[in-house]
């Protein structure tokens, strides 16, 4: 940190100024002239919170994708299909049992098992042939998407938010003034809960990878499989566990997405795309990179759709292009 400041005094100053301006824009009530230029503060705050919470959802999907790629160099383009299947399973379970939380467990377990099948049937047979793996997973996602369309039809499903999470929460942030009265920001409780859950999952994943024995085993496996095998660790078992966990995360994300938005055909592509962009921006195989990329993309999408409605996608891609142009390995990617 101090080293960075010493090396880049100008950039450090800019970062501090921007951060301060952002903090002011979030906390302080906006003066009328400012609102005339930038629109109502309520809209800005909503875009900000929607962007961050959408980023949390993207993180859940993309972290599984990046985990699998980073550790095993497997590109699983069926990740979007696993996400969508998780959403449908979550919907069915929540609908049948009435327990929202139970649908998470079901989606995690079932999609995790699907991941194990994928690992055994596809990736183990084609170790090292990344192009073939990619083609096979494209084929699998085509078939899965069509079969899901067959089973659930073309309509959208929404997973209902449970009673105890529904309704808005009032946050200690000024949204605007109604006369002399201060209006505080009210924001859906469920979205905030999921944001917190995503942060907790992210931190746990980071800790598991960097501070535990199995995490070190996994990271050793990335750098040198033979060495890992030589220590007596059961490489294949470690990989199966990681694959199951990464796929399971996609399933969980599907339930979250079904609660936030909806479960519908085409969402698989949308979230596969989001995962791709997030990991390209954040850097392959980096959990922290996935988090940064996810929040950036989430914010770009939401601010874009509020302030530049018909070009919002362009923003997402501008971020990708700029990152690729200056840092082809991604923001947090290694060398």
């Amino acid at each position: 940190m101090t080293a960075f400041v010493q090396r880049n005094p100008a950039w450090s100053l800019i970062i501090v100024v921007v951060a301060a301006a952002l903090l002011w824009a979030i906390i302080a009530p906006w003066p009328p002239g400012f609102e005339e230029v930038f629109g109502r503060k309520q809209i800005f705050l909503n875009a900000l919170f929607n962007g961050i919470t959408l980023g949390a959802l993207y993180f859940l999907v993309a972290s599984g994708f990046t985990l699998i790629f980073g550790l095993m160099k497997n590109v699983n383009l069926a990740h979007g299909a696993l996400y969508l299947l998780g959403g449908y399973i979550g919907y069915e379970v929540a609908d049948a049992t009435g327990y929202w939380l139970f649908s998470f467990i079901a989606a995690f377990v079932i999609i995790g098992l699907a991941g194990i099948v994928l690992q055994y049937v596809v990736f183990r047979r084609m170790e090292g042939e990344d192009l073939r793996q990619t083609l096979v997973t494209i084929g699998i996602s085509i078939v899965m998407a069509d079969l899901m369309l067959w089973a659930w039809g073309g309509s959208a499903y929404q997973i209902l938010t449970p009673q105890w999470l529904s309704g808005p929460l009032t946050l200690p942030i000024v949204a605007g003034m109604r006369g002399d009265e201060v209006v505080y920001l009210r924001y859906p409780f469920v979205r905030l809960a999921i944001l917190v859950a995503a942060i907790v999952i992210g931190v746990l994943m980071w800790l598991a990878l960097n501070r535990t024995k199995i995490g070190m085993l996994i990271r050793a496996g990335v750098d040198d499989r033979d060495m890992l095998a030589a220590t007596g660790a059961r490489v294949q078992l470690v990989f199966v566990i990681v694959f199951a966990f990464g796929a399971g995360l996609a399933g969980v994300a599907g339930v979250v997405g079904g609660t936030f938005q909806s479960v519908a055909p085409g969402e698989d592509i949308r979230f596969l795309l989001a995962s791709l962009v997030v990991v390209i921006v954040g850097g392959m195989g980096s959990i922290l990179g996935a988090a940064i990329g996810a929040v950036l993309i989430g914010l770009a999408e939401q601010f874009g759709s509020v302030y530049f409605p018909t070009y919002s996608v362009v923003f997402t891609f501008m971020i990708m292009v700029v990152v690729l142009a200056f840092r082809p390995q991604g923001l947090m990617g290694r060398g």
Partner: protein, 362 residues
Amino acid sequence: MAVRDHADVSATSGGIRTHTNYLGWLESVHPAYWLLAILLLFMPAFAGSFWLFQVWGWAFILGTIALSLMFLAGYGGMVSLVQMTIAGLAGYMVAILGASGVSGISMGWPQWVAVPIAIVVAAIFGTLVGALAVRTRGIYTIMITLAVAAGFFYLTRQNYTIFNGYTGFGGIQPPHLFGVNMRQPVHFYYLSLACAVLSFLAVVYVSRSPFGLALQGIRDNPRRMAALGYNVTAHRIAAYTFASVIAAVGGILLTWQNAQIAPASVGIGPVIDILIIAIVGGIGHPIGAFIGAFIYVILRLFSPDMLMALGLPGDRFRTLIGLGFLLIVFWSPDGVLGLWQQLKERMRDNAGFTGLGGAGER
């Protein structure tokens, strides 16, 4: 070919062919091609307009677009999923610059102005995407081009000022060449055939030119090529430009054939279909793109009947395509062409086996 990571040049190129006389060149064309040429030239004499327009016309167009992918993947080792997007952009440009049912956006310029500009715009776009994609290698190329393709799809869907959003452009005027309506089945058949053949010949010719040879050298061994004085990045980007022009030709034809272009034409489905066509046909030779396209079109048009005949729901076409694709990728990385090669080799081995057996007993 691209499925194997380090395939050698031999299967695809045959190296530099120096041509000493043209008769020799004519003789070098495989007899099967002569047969095919005669068959295709006289097709309208015995095929109905459904076959000419829907089956053959469509196969030529999809084959041309898949050919642009084959060129990048087979000769350059770069599997680009953005080819359908480039084709779609060219189609959109023809709709926007030329005449369509959306008079508020379309400028109504004559085709001979709109078409070249459309091709140039598509080529520039393809070059830019290429410049982005070649910054990374291998599997990243697929991811980046897929992301760009998806981004273009969402942009056309949400943007109404240029791309007319969800509905896109309908009522696109078919071209009139020499006072002849080119959308009339027989004429369209010949137009698409001519474009496909020209693109095919262009790819074959370029693959054996110094540029094409250098590209194949770069595919096999980029570091060595740099050590021979080649600018690896510039060659890769130039390959994208060349492939973009071919894709653009296919895209314009596709727009004329459908008389419309919409986001659905550039969605992830069609983007992946082009990959499937190229892989299924076989990425080792330019003809594979057209074989794949023909198989795809036949399946696409007739699978509902076939599925229903088997007592299955007729709209599960994509499952069928997906499974077929999986079978090919699992068992024949070089596609149908690879299967054909394997078959030929097996027959030759069987024939040669007896002879060798005799020799072995000496």
